[in-house]
Symmetry: C2
Subunit: 223 residues, 2 copies
DNA sequence: GTCTATATGTAGATAGAC
DNA sequence: GTCTATCTACATATAGAC
């Protein structure tokens, strides 16, 4: 933003302008963190990406750590809500099985990762980084694990003879598989010598088969 | 980078002091990169960890990028050889199935990740970072994909009706699941409110069931 | 082979002008 | 609310003394 706005405009304009700038900073940070990771990105690069000056990022985002968490918190509730609402719908229709449960957890993520909105896609990529990196996970994990724990409770109800640690490991494997679809499309394409599909939704059925098949086989004697 | 090693193995066949220093630098870099990632670690920290001065790291490791690749290359052939030899053994005894194939790919990694040697454990953690991060993968991926492609060929032979892209995606999901066991033990323990097992081998059977079950279900109509 | 010293750049953070 | 200017610290990399 090189053009410098005159001060003394209407009062309602002032508030809105700050909010818009703030959004632009968060959007830029989201893209940068997603693409290169927390440590590889400087606040300066985020400022450049947002087309604001360095000071503006500090003003709206605080420290780099705070900015990172703010970026996550802005989105996490939406994803959590999608998962909770799908679960409620399942319970209402009484078609709750391990299969539909996994579908309810995985599909919202795949859908946001496949939306047209590049910010949501960036966010999905960012999530993929978080789960696989202990350092991010320590501060960001709790944002997600509240809902994961709810799903885990349902798994326990469906399969009471399995240990909770075993079910937790299977849910974690499911999550790892899920995010890998978004994060390692390049590897798949490289191995198959094919094209990278423009949407992770292309792998949806395959991913669900993989996760459901995996969970069922691991629980086979007990379920 | 200066070409090192004018070779000082003169005295009764003992390894040169430089070689020992070099190993210590690579070991320290391996631990640091594994624990915190390429971007979060400075060469200074590696030097401190190795108990040498900054210049020594530069002398033995070259630039940071070069050091990173050197760390990987030192180990990768061992892992690749284990996978190839397991595959050969399978083909010799003619017990090659999707199940045993996946076992042959996954087990060597789990075993090195579970060895007493902390350096091998660190390396396993480092591998987990590489597969899930596009930036590392671009330069390190080819080191691994040669062998992955061999396994993929075997999958194709076992299941000729599936597309190569589908098989590649399933192999990639298997790899993602495999490394997640090493990388996200904390998450599993947090969800289950249990202890982190001291060896990823504790999850071996569960992981194999998950991967095999996943691959079989995804290929079900075709195999 | 090892280490000191340093060149050169960039990092995160903020005080204060506008 | 925005941006300039700057502080302090640390980054990578290397030249040259020992």
């Amino acid at each position: 933003m090189t053009d410098r706005r005159e001060d003394g405009t209407s009062k309602d304009g002032r508030v809105a302008r700050g909010e818009i700038t703030r959004e632009r900073v968060l959007d830029a940070a989201e893209r940068c963190f997603a693409e290169r990771g927390f440590d590889a990105i400087s606040i300066r690069q985020i400022a450049r990406e947002a087309d604001v000056t360095l000071g503006v990022v500090g003003f709206h985002g605080g420290t780099k750590q705070e900015l990172f968490l703010t970026v996550l918190k802005r989105r996490v509730e939406t994803l959590n809500a999608l998962r909770i609402s799908r679960l409620s719908a399942l319970k209402a229709t009484e078609r709750l099985t391990l299969e539909t449960l996994i579908d309810a957890y995985v599909t919202p993520y795949l859908e946001i990762a496949s939306r047209g909105d590049p910010q949501w896609r960036a966010y999905a990529q960012l999530v993929a980084r978080i789960v696989s990196d202990e350092r991010y996970y320590l501060e960001a994990g709790p944002l997600y694990d509240r809902v994961a724990a709810v799903y885990l409770d349902e798994m326990e109800r469906l399969c009471p003879d399995a240990g909770r640690d075993q079910l937790a490991a299977l849910l974690s494997l499911t999550v790892a598989s899920m995010v890998s679809i978004v994060a390692s499309g390049i590897r798949i394409a490289g191995l198959a010598q094919s094209e990278v599909p423009d949407s992770p939704l292309a792998y949806r059925d395959l991913l669900l088969d993989f996760c459901v098949g995996g969970v069922l086989r691991a629980l086979e004697p007990k379920c």
